[in-house]
Symmetry: C2
Subunit: 166 residues, 2 copies
């Protein structure tokens, strides 16, 4: 099948020499995120027809309870238009309901409908199953370590962008 196996990177050359793609974090993270998400995608897509964004909004709302669209944005680090449309779709399909904010009439407090709660629980089970399978192949220790480092990385990034700003 494979002819020359491009997956073997050029022997991790010294980092001071030049740009090394296979150690470049944005590249590595994108690839890992893509592969991981693709692996779970069938769960919410096939049979439920959800978008990745919609699944994320569903998961966040299911997890945090009544929440506003803006807070979803900050939690997921996503564009507000993206979230807005996902919310619209989920409302349209009867999984989500909006309620006008009481103190602030600009906001709309989101919550799952009964249908949405059911779907969230179903997909939550799938997610747990996925997590279990992955952990079995990845080792619990490594996974914990990895999550800690991910958290550190985001902190470091936040620090970076706060320093040099824009």
């Amino acid at each position: 099948m494979t002819k020359s196996d491009p997956k073997s990177s050029p022997a991790v050359s010294d980092p001071e020499a030049g740009f090394e793609l296979e150690t470049f974090l944005p590249f590595l993270l994108n690839r890992a995120a893509e592969v991981t998400s693709q692996a779970f995608q069938p769960a919410y897509r096939e049979g439920f027809g959800l978008t990745r964004s919609q699944w994320r909004v569903l998961a966040i709302t299911g997890h945090y309870g009544a929440i506003t669209a803006r807070d979803i944005c900050t939690i997921a680090h996503e564009e507000k238009s993206k979230i807005s449309r996902a919310v619209s779709a989920l409302t349209e399909s009867g999984h989500l309901q909006k309620a006008l904010g009481e103190t602030d009439k600009r906001t709309e407090v989101l919550s799952l409908t009964e249908k949405g709660t059911t779907l969230f629980e179903t997909l939550g089970q799938s997610a747990l199953q996925f997590d279990r399978t992955l952990r079995a192949a990845f080792t619990p220790e490594k996974e914990a370590q990895f999550r800690a480092l991910l958290s550190d990385l985001e902190a470091a990034l936040a620090e970076c962008s706060n320093q040099e700003d824009i």
Copy 2:
């Protein structure tokens, strides 16, 4: 269901209880990838007008030398149509050139033009700079550890999808 301060995750509840978004790897990876990529995006976008896909193709071609579109796909874990269009755009803009494969006339071997090489070197410098800044805030040890774990994770994922297949 706490509704206040959504950024503080619910204290890492026991993993057996139910679906826990803030420990769900696809979610965490997507967020980290998004934040990291966004941070580097200005480098290739502003002033050079490259897409993220185009930048990736440029980087891979610059890194691996003469390479075929299919190999770029397997390296980056991307759709072939996405790569195809990025290649077209880069060829159009004079950064990339195609050469008909000699042994296999279906393939087209890609390589950087002089212009492409220059751009690759420029952006490679930016990438190095970015990496350096990030490493300063992230700690070299953590970064190395993190990369090792990322690699392990991809291996675990490959194993998973090979086992249960589809």
